[in-house]
């Protein structure tokens, strides 16, 4: 949808054709003191889009804890990425962003440009990108459209990341029917920089030059942000294909090297990448941040094609472009650097003092807008929030009963269930099985920093020239969020930070990508508001700053809204990589300890997905203070060298946590699980704040002492070794098929680890009907 295609008619006034409401047009008039012309209206339509302006979410995001210099925060929300110091003059930059709607329309390019966009957010700040994590969510794995999207998105992430030479080291892949019409492609990027090179997206110094470098500007991605990311999908999606950007990873690779060279040689005063909103966004944001304005000569912008209208040049989202603010005397040096990297480079304007974005074409001024009215003074909406009628008992309105998936046919009544059959079903399920068929399409080892790559918990990247390592993960608990958005978000933060802490690393900060529905729908906005509250509460309880993120709304299709999905990205710091603790069982004869205790509630669990949800069931609760103590325990256990392995209890519950440790360690276990609630809750329940720790028997007492010191229940539940996975149920609550047969003895799980490994390893390829994945060397 562009101005050209939608001429003004009485039926459809231009501002509405561009996605602006009548109120918003009035607000624009107030800010300009006059009517905007068509070009200005097009610029406002992009900058005031949900995607660029955060007009619905701003009031909520202001409530989040953003940390301070005391937390090591060097740059926080509002910048292209959060930056946190890791000592020794080094800092880590990280951010997660969505590219959901483009990926739904054109999976390969949507995902590829998603990677490209988040990488630019990182190196724009002077950081060299060192890792990518991709958090992907799709509909039912059996659905042909889902398979088409998975294939395209995975190829797109790999096609871009592999070529630019940034390893893809982690992420998620989740299938749930609620994403059937609207997949989620969230990409997190991490960069490493010397603090002295920190560069901000600001345009100081009237008289400085505005230089555009990188790819030329074309018609691709016209209105990508406003058209795609800020409206609910209807059935005319193909008409939106022209709005999808097209990526060129080779151009991005050159852009990375050129940009970092410009920064390290001190040639730029400010740097901003061109993403959503193109030249309009980059010029107004950098000017507004510095309290300056800009005079832009549109004729100086290098074009990809002739005959482009002014508004097209101003809002085009052509990829791989950067805007640099440069002192006049350094212009020739900048041109020399760009020329050496073979990158087009043009001086398109001047920084001015009047605070306006003024655009001239053929010597005639066609645009004059106060920069701030496009960005910091953009309209903010106070949306209406109202909880669904039956808040907990059922999924919120507008959300299909997602947890009742295709697996509903495989309903497993708790009484009389065979725990071994359930475990095998869980390990082979598309949400639990090995992701190897996907991450083997990514280069996860380039840059020679990858200590732990994808597939075994959090990713670990050594920091060259130090003993340090960065530990990163992404997590989101959407199923619980569908029942209780506050809890879903808090659980997401708890799990993501826990996955970092169990390696021994200290979480540094949180970035988030909030994927929700249409904010004009009170239930959907209530979900967003509750989730942001949960995010803030959890981060305050765990003492973590939220350093930035991204909000993706209107994730709805004719099939309904997605589960509210608060994607959480966490980066942690391990001071001495030698103390790293992994999730794989390390040695035969180690003692297995369970720290923390199960609490009831199966709603939102993988077990419930398999067995079918019980309408009256509730999700497990979360005690944020216990979570904080558990993570402190995990870090201390690692630092003191007491833990041989640590794995948290999450998807699939205790049984799956034990199975993963056994499969990855290539050894069996003999475990006795005390049944406090019911076999399903104790074996497969996903109540948080629990870790499975293995240790040399002589260290077990010290670990038990340490757990109690942190006020955590701890129980020695078994021993590693052998080739069988033997888990028996003990206690009054024990039940099982045997009981059905009248026996008093509960059935134990008694399976060969090799069989569990095969089930786990082949589950995903089977679910997607991909060629059977070839066995690769497990572990490293």
């Amino acid at each position: 949808m562009t101005v050209a295609e939608r001429p003004e008619t009485p039926a459809v006034p231009l501002h509405r054709a561009l996605g602006l409401t009548d109120d918003e047009l009035t607000a624009i008039r107030e800010r300009l003191g006059r009517d905007p012309n068509d070009v200005e209206l097009a610029m406002f339509s992009v900058m005031w889009s949900e995607h660029c302006s955060y007009k619905s979410s701003k009031p909520l995001l202001r409530t989040l804890p953003t940390g301070s210099a005391a937390d090591g925060v060097v740059a926080g929300p509002g910048e292209n990425a959060g930056v946190i110091s890791i000592g020794g003059g080094l800092a880590v930059a990280f951010k997660i962003e969505s590219h959901n709607h483009p990926s739904a329309v054109e999976p390969y390019q949507g995902a590829a440009t998603g990677v490209g966009g988040i990488l630019r957010d990182i190196f724009t700040m002077g950081a060299r990108p060192i890792a990518v994590l991709d958090a992907l969510r799709f509909g039912d794995a059996a659905d042909p459209r889902t398979r088409h999207l998975v294939d395209g998105v995975v190829r797109g992430v790999g096609g871009y990341g592999n070529c630019v030479g940034v390893p893809t080291v982690g992420g998620e892949l989740v299938f749930d029917p609620s994403y059937g019409g609207n997949p989620l492609v969230n990409v997190m990027a991490i960069g490493l920089l010397e603090e002295r090179f920190l560069t901000l997206a600001s345009a100081p110094g009237p008289g400085n030059l505005v230089i555009l470098f990188g790819s030329t500007t074309g018609r691709d991605g016209i209105g990508g942000a406003s058209v795609l990311a800020s409206a609910t999908f209807t059935d005319d999606d193909p008409s939106k294909r022209p709005s999808v950007q097209v990526g060129d990873p080779f151009a991005e690779k050159l852009l990375i090297e050129a940009s970092l060279e410009l920064i390290e040689r001190g040639l730029v005063e400010g740097l901003q990448d061109l993403g959503a909103g193109g030249i309009t966004c980059a010029t107004s944001e950098t000017a507004d941040r510095a309290g300056t304005g800009m005079a832009i000569d549109l004729d100086a912008v290098p074009r990809r094609e002739p005959g482009m209208a002014a508004f097209e040049v101003l809002i085009s989202e052509s990829q791989e472009r950067m805007l640099a603010i440069v002192r006049p005397e350094r212009e020739s040096d900048v041109r020399e650097v760009c020329a050496r990297w073979g990158i087009p480079c043009a001086t398109i304007g001047l920084v001015t003092a009047d605070g306006d974005i003024a655009v001239t074409e053929a010597g005639r001024e066609i645009v004059r807008i106060p920069a701030r009215s496009l960005t910091s003074d953009a309209i903010v909406h106070e949306r209406v929030a109202s909880p669904p009628a039956r808040r907990r008992a059922a999924p919120a309105p507008g959300i299909p009963a997602a947890t009742a998936s295709a697996a509903a046919s495989a309903r497993i009544p708790e009484r009389g269930m065979d725990p071994g059959a359930v475990l095998a079903a869980l390990l082979g399920a598309p949400n639990q099985a090995s992701r190897r068929p996907v991450f083997e399409q990514y280069d996860s080892t380039v840059q020679v920093n990858t200590v732990v790559g994808p597939g075994h918990g959090a990713a670990v990247l050594r920091v060259k020239g130090t003993t340090k390592a960065l530990v990163a993960t992404t997590d989101a608990n959407a199923p619980v969020g569908g029942v209780d958005p506050w809890l879903g978000a808090a659980l997401s933060v708890a799990e993501a930070t826990r996955n970092v802490s169990i390696t021994g690393a200290r979480p540094l900060g949180v970035t988030n990508c909030l994927n929700f529905g249409d904010p004009t729908r009170p239930e959907a906005f209530w979900q967003l508001r509750e989730a942001v509250r949960g995010l803030g509460d959890a981060c305050r309880a765990l003492g973590l700053p939220v350093t930035g993120g991204n909000v993706s709304l209107y994730n709805e299709s004719p099939a309904g809204a997605i589960l509210p999905t608060p994607e959480i990205g966490v980066v942690g710091l391990l001071d001495d990589v030698a103390t790293l603790v992994g999730p794989a069982f390390a040695a035969e004869g180690d003692a297995i300890l369970l720290v923390g205790e199960a609490t009831p509630g199966l709603a939102g669990s993988e077990y419930a997905r398999l067995a079918g949800p019980a309408a009256e069931d509730e999700p497990p609760g979360l005690d944020l203070d216990r979570e904080r103590r558990l993570q402190a325990f995990a870090r201390e256990a690692a630092a003191r060298g007491l833990a041989a392995s640590m794995q948290d209890v999450s998807g699939g519950g205790l049984a799956v946590a034990l199975a993963e440790g056994a499969i990855w360690g290539g050894m069996g276990v003999t475990v006795r699980v005390p049944v406090a609630h019911s076999p399903a809750v104790d074996l497969f329940g996903e109540s948080p704040s629990r870790v499975v720790v293995t240790t040399r028997p002589r260290h077990a007492p010290a670990l038990e002492l340490l757990a109690r010191h942190h006020g955590l229940p701890v129980e020695r539940i078994g021993t590693t070794g052998g080739d069988r996975f033997f888990v028996e149920l003990a206690g009054a609550g024990a039940t099982g098929a045997a009981e059905e047969r009248g026996s008093r003895v509960a059935d134990p799980i008694d399976l060969r680890v090799a069989d569990l490994a095969h089930t786990w390893d082949h589950g995903l390829a089977r679910a997607l009907d991909w060629e059977a994945p070839a066995a690769a060397p497990e572990g490293r």
Binding site: N162, F250, E440, Q441, V446, V448, A774, P777
Partner: protein
């Protein structure tokens, strides 16, 4: 004295820093050789690193071979200079005709990034003499076009001439099959992972020894190959142009 070794940097190379890092660990003095310069700065050996030279648009390595630096590398090779191509570097050498054969798309038609095991077929070459006791070497591959191909006559000649340097093998060391054998990640004919030219001074392989040169990264099996190259380069530099046998132990 530390030997000066060149690492070619094409636009789109993305393993150049990794290669420089590993060469330095092996005691070399690595210098970057920019694709537009014909001057090799008197290096004793040249490495073509992995990546996507010129984006690998059209076909992997096909554009890179025409760059100014490659003319110098070809001349350097003709004089007996040591040249090693890794991954995309191997593809460039094959496109330039400096090593025989071609690298086709992986059998699965997907990019594949994982650890593989390779066996050193010729332990007494400038590229392998420090590889250590015969055992499968574990290191990563990361490529979309790594399926080694040549006609049967060429393959026979390579084997007869001891020019197959590396083969993909299973964990037990047995040579991987050509089809449907996970140990052969890309379907390379006769499981060939690396070859050298007739003169023996130019070699290429798809796996990444530079990514397996430190225990912290999960494997240092590749470091012996990096050290072999550096020591051989030092020996050729010292022996100033005498035949490569001088570099052999």
């Amino acid at each position: 004295m530390t030997v000066r070794v060149g690492v070619v940097v094409f636009p789109g190379s993305n393993c150049d820093r990794d290669t420089t890092h590993a060469l330095a660990l092996a005691g070399a003095d690595p210098v970057e050789l920019w694709h537009e310069t014909a001057d090799l700065q008197g290096v004793a050996g040249v490495v073509l690193p992995g990546g996507f030279a010129y984006g690998d648009y059209l076909r992997a390595g096909v554009i890179a071979r025409f760059s100014p630096v490659m003319r110098s590398v070809a001349a350097f090779a003709a004089e007996g200079g040591l040249v090693l191509g890794v991954c995309n570097g191997f593809q460039v050498l094959a496109e330039a005709g400096l090593v025989p054969g071609a690298l086709l798309r992986n059998r699965g038609l997907r990019f594949l990034g994982r650890d593989v095991r390779i066996a050193v077929e010729e332990p007494d070459t400038p590229f392998t003499h420090l590889a250590g006791p015969r055992r499968p070497l574990r290191m990563p591959v990361a490529h979309g076009e790594g399926c080694y191909f040549a006609d049967d006559a060429t393959l026979d000649a390579l084997e007869a001439g001891g020019r197959v340097l590396f083969r993909y093998v299973r964990e037990d060391g047995s040579v991987a099959g050509e089809a449907d054998d996970p140990a052969n990640p890309n379907g390379s004919l006769r499981a060939i992972a690396g070859v050298r030219n007739a003169a023996g001074n130019v070699a290429g392989l798809m796996p990444h020894p530079e990514r397996a040169s430190e225990a912290i990264l999960g494997s240092d099996d590749g470091f012996g190959l990096v050290r072999s190259f550096v020591e051989s380069a030092a020996a050729t530099a010292a022996s100033a142009g005498r035949p490569l046998e001088a570099a052999r132990r």
